[in-house]
Symmetry: C2
């Protein structure tokens, strides 16, 4: 058993436009880091958090990282273990990029690696979902599953949990822009209507099926034309400044698709190469800055690996 371990876990894009609550993928950047150290006395403590501007709790029972590690240790009947956790937020909170998920997954991956992997990555997902419940009020898997497993993950079903790893075109680049506006996940969920027209649902699952087919066929055109959301985006886009103008800007810059990441306010595009992805983020950033809205941008390939131990 190692005494100290440092782990990176990736940010994730949930929903992937048409796949509300059932699809997500991981990116290489941004992501969070956790440093975990063995300590003599049993129990889990948070010793340090950086990059959160003081927004996250140091109380081990309330912090999603420590709480899910505690939950995990109880499950594997190793409450004799003691660890100290440092959480280094390397990505913005409340961005719609799976910030809490990246932290939680880093913590769970760290403890499981430290203990020589008593559980598989798949088996860690329910513990990470518990962490999401604490952080966001609902235990969804569309961030934590891709953060843990890497790549694209389909949550075919929640009861029972059924996760399917999907292939994807290796050349796909993701261009993310996080506009500096506040959209809490809880509020974004509450905006959505509880009833929808069946005819709209049919359009949506046609597109979901098209996106999944496009991923298997590595057909970027099909992926792009399937990434339409007639149900959730029309509502959630209200919270994002100039959403339709940002889409126009992205598409004119060569984007394959454009949509909201998770519950927003981050937006993302797929692009066929890194150069196009960079052009998309810089044009969107420019447009936002002309409206006096600051933003952070990230360009990265899809992350196929999930969390990893850093040297």
């Amino acid at each position: 058993m190692k005494d100290t371990i440092r782990v990176f876990a990736p940010a994730t894009v949930a929903n992937v436009v048409c796949g509300f609550d059932i699809l997500g993928f991981a990116v290489d950047a941004p992501g969070d880091e956790v440093i975990m150290r063995r300590k003599a006395e049993p129990g889990v403590t948070i010793t340090k958090i950086t990059g959160d501007e003081g927004r996250l709790p140091m109380d081990a029972a309330k912090n999603t990282v420590s709480a899910s590690v505690q939950h995990y240790l109880k499950h594997i009947e190793r409450t004799d273990i003691g660890v100290e956790i440092e959480l280094h937020k390397k990505m913005p909170i409340g961005s719609g990029l799976g910030s809490s998920s990246a932290s939680t997954v880093a913590g769970l991956f760290a403890i499981n690696t430290m203990l020589d992997e008593p559980l598989t990555r798949d088996e860690l997902v329910p513990f990470a979902m518990k962490g999401e419940e604490l952080a966001c009020g609902s235990g969804h898997a569309d961030n934590v599953a891709p953060a843990l497993l890497g790549g694209f993950v389909l949550i075919r079903s929640y009861e029972p949990l059924d996760l399917i790893k999907l292939p994807y075109p290796e050349s796909l680049y993701c261009a993310i822009v996080f506009p500096d506006v506040d959209v809490p996940t809880r509020d974004a969920r509450q905006m959505i209507r509880s009833k929808v027209l069946l005819k709209d649902a049919v359009i949506q699952w046609g597109n979901v099926a098209g996106l999944v087919s496009g991923l298997f066929m590595k057909d970027i055109d099909l992926i792009g034309r399937s990434m339409k959301d007639v149900l959730v985006e029309p509502v959630r886009s209200i919270l994002i400044p100039d959403f339709y103008k940002l889409r126009e800007t992205a598409m004119e810059a060569g984007a394959v698709s454009f949509g909201i990441s998770g519950s927003g306010p981050s937006v993302f595009s797929f692009a066929r190469d890194e150069e196009t992805a960079n052009r998309i983020t810089s044009r969107i950033q420019k447009h936002l800055s002309e409206r006096q809205i600051g933003s952070l941008t990230y360009v990265s390939p899809v992350n196929g690996e999930g969390p990893k131990v850093l040297g």
Copy 2:
């Protein structure tokens, strides 16, 4: 240009349980036959219909086969052509197996082959959809697209029409039972609620995505566990005698899945081999006969070919 041509077109299973209005596949049996003969004077006439118990119109403007051939000839600007059509119904009408679709597709494939294929099979789909509109009151593609293209077809979108051929496990067998009860397509459509719960729609598109993934991965277990319908089946199954008992019977006989074909009343199962498929149909038929309900059964692999010219 050939003077006489005889064409077979396959029956189809639309919806495939979870993919309401967007998925369908073709089977080897049953199916319909059309014999088309060139005649000197321009125009399309129906000269003979067998196997329909007098239910189908002989009037060329009202019969879906002749009407869609007329529509096709007008489109390709060959109204100078004259053909006589014999329609041999080799499958039951109103069965939920794409009966009108099989006839229409046979007619369109016959004329297009006779004229040395001015249109591709994909291009024939809209003409067949027009035929469906005449026969069923709505121009859906989930029967005609697989009947024309063979195999599994995803209708990703209707506007514009976007058809994706999906792979499938070659070993998959389809077991169909048509109970002798009357369920008109129009009524079956009208039963369905126009609004659904978003949470049910999410379950549905998780399953649609799972089914499509299972087809690409040729993972019969995944195909089976994805074939659940929380939206349409609970309503349409009311019209099918002993539906849930029939499901139990099929699953006990080794079925991978069980559900309604199209708008019913036919039901179908997937099975891993022909023997199991035969066991499923014979047990369901036995159960129905104990309730004094007659039935027809069909066992066949998925038809990968679509319509074909007969020798």
